[in-house]
C-alpha cells in the first residue's frame, strides 16, 4: 500500500504509544461497520476512523445515541454533543434490547484493568469481591457487548499488572477457558478477535483461542512483550512489524484531541 521510502520517512515521525494504539484501533473498522463506542481511546479511534478512511461508519454510544457525529470527543457517553449530532436517540432499554441483543452491532471496543490469555476481562475489583484492594467501576455495557457485538477489539496498555495469569474477577467473558467454549455457551458471535497494546497486536489462535502475538510495534522486541505479560506468550510463525501511524492519521488525531481539550477546559458560551 505504501512505498518503502515512505515507511522510512514515517519512522522519523514522533508519536506516542497511545497514538499508535488509537490509530491501530481505528484501522480495524470500516464505513460498513456499526460500532458500539466506549469513552476514551475507543471513542478517539472510532472518530478518527470516521474522519479518515471510514466516513460512513455508524457510531452508537450506550446512552442510546445512534449515528452520532461529534465534532469533539465526549467526556461521558451521554454528552449533549452526541445527542445533537445523532441520527436518532433511543431509550437505554431499547438500545440494549433492540439494537445490541439483536446482533445488529458489528464491532465493539473494550479495555480493562486485567486481561487473561483467553481475552477475558476484569473491570470489577482488584483483590477479592467482598474486600477489594481496589474497587473498579464494574461491568457497565461490557459483558453483553462481548456476547452480542459481532466482533470485539480490545485496546489496553501492556504490563504484568494487567496481563495476568489469572483474573481476580471475570467481568466480561472473552473466550472463557478457550477452545469452543463460546459456541458451547450458545454465543454465535466471534468475541475478541484482536488485542491492541502499546507493544504489539495479538490475535486468538484458531483452535485454542489463546492470544498469540501477530505483530510487534516498531522497535519493540519479543523479550519486551514477554516481560510485560504474566503468562508464557505464544508468537505466530510470522511476526511482522505493526504499520506505524501515517502523517495524516496523526494530524487528524492531534487536531481532534486539541479541540476536545479546549472544549472541556472552558465553559462554552451560549
Amino acid at each position: 500500500m505504501h512505498s518503502r521510502g515512505a515507511v522510512h520517512r514515517w519512522r522519523d515521525v514522533r508519536y506516542s504509544p497511545d497514538e499508535l494504539m488509537t490509530v491501530a484501533a481505528a484501522r480495524c473498522v470500516s464505513s460498513e461497520d456499526v460500532c458500539f463506542v466506549g469513552i476514551g481511546l475507543p471513542s478517539a479511534a472510532c472518530n478518527l476512523a470516521r474522519l479518515t478512511h471510514a466516513p460512513r461508519i455508524t457510531l452508537i454510544y450506550e446512552s442510546g445515541t445512534i449515528g452520532a457525529r461529534p465534532a469533539v470527543l465526549p467526556l461521558s457517553i451521554g454528552d449533549g454533543e452526541l445527542c445533537s449530532t445523532a441520527l436518532t436517540t433511543v431509550s437505554v432499554p431499547e438500545f440494549f434490547r433492540y439494537w445490541l441483543q439483536s446482533g445488529r452491532i458489528t464491532v465493539g471496543f473494550l479495555g480493562g484493568a486485567q486481561i487473561d490469555r483467553f481475552a477475558n476481562l476484569n473491570t470489577t475489583v482488584v483483590g477479592t469481591y467482598d474486600a477489594p484492594s481496589v474497587r473498579l467501576p464494574g461491568g457497565g455495557g461490557a459483558p453483553e457487548m462481548a456476547a452480542q457485538c459481532q466482533q470485539i477489539f480490545i485496546v489496553m496498555p501492556q504490563s504484568r499488572r494487567a496481563f495476568v495469569e489469572r483474573l481476580d474477577f471475570l467481568t466480561t467473558r472473552g473466550h472463557g477457558a478457550g477452545g469452543d467454549e463460546r459456541q458451547r455457551m450458545g454465543l454465535r458471535t466471534s468475541g475478541p478477535v484482536k488485542v491492541i497494546t502499546d507493544l504489539c497486536v495479538m490475535e486468538p489462535d484458531h483452535e485454542s483461542r489463546e492470544l498469540t502475538v501477530t505483530s510487534l510495534h516498531p522497535s519493540v522486541t519479543r523479550d519486551q512483550v514477554q516481560s510485560a505479560t504474566g503468562w508464557s506468550l505464544r508468537f505466530a510463525a510470522d511476526v511482522p512489524e505493526t504499520a506505524p501511524p501515517t502523517d495524516e492519521e496523526l494530524a487528524v488525531l492531534r487536531q481532534l484531541r486539541l479541540e476536545t481539550e479546549n472544549a472541556h477546559k472552558a465553559k462554552e458560551p451560549a
Binding site: S63, I77, D79, P137, G138, F169, H264, K267, E268
Partner: protein, 281 residues
C-alpha cells in the same frame, strides 16, 4: 396524579429512611438538586439504585445516606474513580456499603420489566462472575424454544426521582434528548418526584414523539431551574465537564469532600442551582 410541591416538602413526604430510592438520568438530566435536599434532610439507610452512580451518588454515599447501592457502572465518566464510593467499599467510610451489582443490559431490562409490572426480566446474557456474587442472577428456560436465558427480578423502587425539561400546567412531563431510563423508573416506582426546568402553558409545537409522562402517572413535580447541574438539561444548559474533572480532587480527600458538602449542600438551597445552571448555559 401530579401535584406541584416545594422541593423540601416533596422529599420530606416521599423519601423515608430505609427506602429504595432510584434517582435516574443516564448522564443527562441527573436530579442533583433533589439529592442535595435528601442530604440536607439527613435521610439514612437508603438503598440507592442507579445504573451509573455518578457524582450524585458519590455525594449521597459520602454524606452517609446509603446502606446499599444497586448499580451497573460506578465510575466518574471519562475521569476515573468515584472516590467516595470506593472509600465506602474499600474502607467502610463513613459507613459500610452493601453492593448489588448488575451489567447495564441487566439493570436497564429490569427497569423495563418494572415499568410493565412484570415480576422479572429475561435477556440473553453471559454474566461471568457477577452471577457468583449476585444471587439475583438466575436462568429461565423459554417454554417455546427451550433456550436458556438469564433472568433477574424486575426493578421497582419505593421512590423514583428524575429531572425533566418541562411540565405543563396540568402536570404532564416532557423529556427530550437522551431519555435513558427516565420513563421506566417513574412508571415502575410506588412514588415519584420529577424536578423540572420550567412550567409552560402547553407542549404545543414540539415533536409528537417527545417523551411525555402523563400527569396521572407522576407524583410530585418541583420547579428547580438548573436542578440537573453539573449534568445537563438538553436545550437549557450544557454538561459542566470541567466540574466532573474537578470532582476528582474535591472527592479524593474526606476533609475536602466534607467541606464541599458543607458549603454547597448544607449551607445552600435549591435556588443555588438556578445560578449554576445559567453559568454554563
Amino acid at each position: 396524579m401530579s401535584v406541584f410541591r416545594s422541593l423540601q416538602d416533596a422529599i420530606a413526604d416521599a423519601v423515608h429512611d430505609g427506602n429504595i430510592v432510584a434517582m435516574e438520568g443516564f448522564t443527562h438530566l441527573i436530579p442533583f438538586a433533589a439529592a442535595h435536599e435528601v442530604i440536607r434532610q439527613g435521610r439514612r439507610d437508603l438503598t440507592l439504585v442507579r445504573m451509573t452512580p455518578d457524582l450524585i451518588y458519590d455525594q449521597l454515599i459520602g454524606a452517609g445516606c446509603a446502606a446499599k447501592l444497586v448499580f451497573s457502572w460506578g465510575g466518574n465518566p471519562g475521569v476515573g474513580s468515584l472516590h467516595r464510593l470506593r472509600d465506602a467499599v474499600e474502607h467502610g467510610w463513613p459507613r459500610p456499603l452493601a453492593l448489588e451489582e448488575y451489567s447495564h443490559a441487566a439493570l436497564a431490562t429490569a427497569y423495563d420489566a418494572g415499568a410493565a409490572r412484570l415480576p422479572f426480566a429475561a435477556f440473553r446474557g453471559s454474566p461471568g462472575d457477577l452471577a457468583r456474587v449476585n444471587p439475583n442472577y438466575r436462568s429461565v428456560v423459554c417454554p417455546f424454544t427451550g433456550q436458556v436465558l438469564t433472568a433477574i427480578p424486575a426493578m421497582r423502587a419505593d421512590v423514583a426521582v428524575v429531572h425533566a425539561q418541562r411540565a405543563d400546567r396540568d402536570g404532564n412531563v416532557l423529556i427530550e434528548g437522551i431519555v435513558g431510563v427516565q420513563k421506566e423508573v417513574v412508571l415502575g416506582a410506588t412514588r415519584s418526584i420529577v424536578t423540572v426546568e420550567e412550567v409552560v402553558d402547553s407542549f404545543e409545537g414540539g415533536s409528537p414523539n417527545a417523551c411525555v409522562i402523563p400527569h396521572w402517572a407522576v407524583g410530585a413535580i418541583v420547579v428547580v431551574p438548573g436542578g440537573a447541574f453539573p449534568s445537563y438539561a438538553y436545550g437549557y444548559y450544557q454538561r459542566d465537564n470541567a466540574f466532573y474533572l474537578a470532582w476528582d480532587a474535591i472527592s479524593r480527600d474526606r476533609d475536602s469532600f466534607r467541606a464541599w458538602i458543607d458549603e454547597h449542600v448544607m449551607r445552600a438551597g435549591p435556588d443555588a442551582f438556578a445560578r449554576r445552571g445559567t453559568q454554563v448555559a
